[in-house]
């Protein structure tokens, strides 16, 4: 799985960090920091949920990558 974040769409909600703190962090202004572009299998479920709940629709996943 490959995770892609769109910094311009991110509204700094931090829902992604609450769900998958090993994959996402936030800068001081709230904008997302991608910690792991290719998260391990065990985290895929949490990352998928983060992509869906992200209020900025800022997280995209390439499942095949």
């Amino acid at each position: 799985m490959r995770v892609i974040v769109d910094l311009e769409k991110c509204c700094g909600a931090g829902q992604c960090v609450l769900l998958a703190p090993k994959v996402f962090d936030q800068r001081d202004d709230g904008i997302v920091i991608l910690l792991d572009e290719h998260p391990p299998e065990a985290l895929h479920k949490a990352v998928r949920e983060a992509a869906c709940v992200c209020p900025g629709a800022a997280i995209k996943l390439e499942e095949q990558a």
Partner: protein, 399 residues
């Protein structure tokens, strides 16, 4: 319980889409239909009053998913068609064009309709702001006119005022409350927000009702207040709240009480669920019925509804999350911020333009609000989850 072979979702916005996506995430392989009254594919509303209105984003950027991602859901999308009737026992929805759609489970995701002023005339220059088309029309008028009156002292009114001001317009905001967002954030923080708007040059007329719009039969010319004052206006934004879009359900037999009344599983009747702004459900953690109007709720409730459709029997009891952007200020609220709560600033300060505040009610922490303090706010959220004793708040600092 058997898993329904087909699911019909009525309302193709963020809540409805969340149900469809979460069902597929749950591994659901049955037939899915998404029916929506708007002709647009699902799009996001929060940018409408911010980046779309200001022109920073083209309207198309609000699309929630690109075509490829929607196609992957293998759902039938019926757009530009309104549901007009629900047959609860027959599990069928009739649309305005007379089509009858049936499914073993039906999800109501029809959101809200903006309230209008009593006797509001359909004059040019008068706007509500709920849909993408509303935002595009309002932006066109804001580009053409220079004097703007915003009627409404809630989140939407404040955001519209901030954006119009950012476009260099002369803006007056009118509302009945003592301060901006008083009922949403309480008088103290609402007061800081009012000061922010005044510093940015917005004229505030608070604590006064609007009597009527004034116009020449074609265009709006101003707004008359209950105290007699006449505010001239070329553009008027009416942002006085919304009501659940349940007109199509009045003869369904479902219980409607400021929303579709649901149990703790977001179920309105056997095989019928509701999600998002339209749903009033029983929050087990609070022990009361609740309806939320925010973006995160629509998505999280969508996941809960999907889980319940596939038989997981999961109560929906979230810590709400809501944000608003006005000028350079990002306000975020986890939990509740009741107007009569105690408020304690535990990080930063209003003077510094950055702070985090805890809200206390019944001796417990019930909410945290961040004002340009994203990370600290997120870590303070834990106190809302744990309902930390209010007596401990003095010793609190976000770690």
């Amino acid at each position: 319980m058997t898993i329904p072979a087909s699911v019909l979702v009525v309302g193709a916005s963020v809540g409805g889409l969340a149900v469809v996506e979460a069902l597929r995430r749950e591994g659901y392989t049955g037939a899915l239909t998404l029916l929506g009254a708007e002709r647009h594919p699902p799009y996001d509303r929060p940018p409408l009053s911010k980046k779309v209105l200001s022109g920073a984003w083209e309207p198309d950027r609000t699309r929630l998913r690109q075509d490829a991602a929607l196609a992957q859901l293998a759902a039938t999308m019926i757009l530009g068609e309104q549901a007009v009737h629900l047959d609860v026992l027959g599990r069928a929805v009739t649309t305005a064009s007379g089509r009858r759609l049936t499914a073993e489970a039906i999800v109501i995701a029809t959101g809200l309709e903006p309230r209008r002023l009593p006797g509001q005339e359909p004059w040019a220059g008068v706007h509500v702001l709920r849909t993408l088309d509303d935002a595009v029309a309002l932006r066109a008028d804001l580009l053409a006119g220079s004097q703007v009156v915003v009627v409404g002292d809630g989140v939407l009114g404040a955001e519209a005022a901030a954006t119009a001001r950012g476009m260099g317009r002369a803006v007056t905001l009118v509302g009945p409350q003592s301060t901006l967002l008083a009922s949403q954030l309480g008088p103290q923080i609402g007061g800081y927000l009012a000061e922010l708007h005044q510093r940015q040059g917005v004229q505030l007329r608070l604590g006064v009702a609007v009597e009527a719009l004034v116009g020449d039969g074609e265009r709006v010319r101003g707004v008359r207040l209950a105290d007699g004052e006449l505010l001239p206006a070329e553009v008027v934004v009416v942002a006085i709240g919304s009501r659940p879009a349940t007109d199509w359900l009045t003869d369904s037999g479902l219980r409607l009480a400021d929303g579709v009344v649901c149990d703790s599983r977001c179920r309105a009747a056997e095989g019928i669920y509701a999600v998002g702004d339209v749903a009033r459900w029983h929050h087990e953690g609070l022990g009361t019925a609740l309806r939320l109007e925010n973006r995160s709720n629509a998505v999280e409730q969508g996941a809960a509804v999907a889980a319940n459709i596939v038989g997981k029997d999961r109560p929906y009891a979230p810590v709400p999350f809501f944000w608003t952007d006005q000028y350079e200020v990002k306000i975020q609220v986890h939990g509740w911020a009741p107007a009569d709560a105690q408020v304690a600033i535990v990080e930063g300060s209003p003077e510094a333009g950055q702070f985090a505040a805890l809200y206390g009610s019944g001796g417990k922490v019930v909410g945290v609000l961040g004002w340009n303090m994203v990370k600290q706010t997120r870590s303070l959220r834990q106190h809302v989850v744990e309902r930390t004793d209010w007596s401990l708040v003095k010793s609190l600092r976000a770690s």
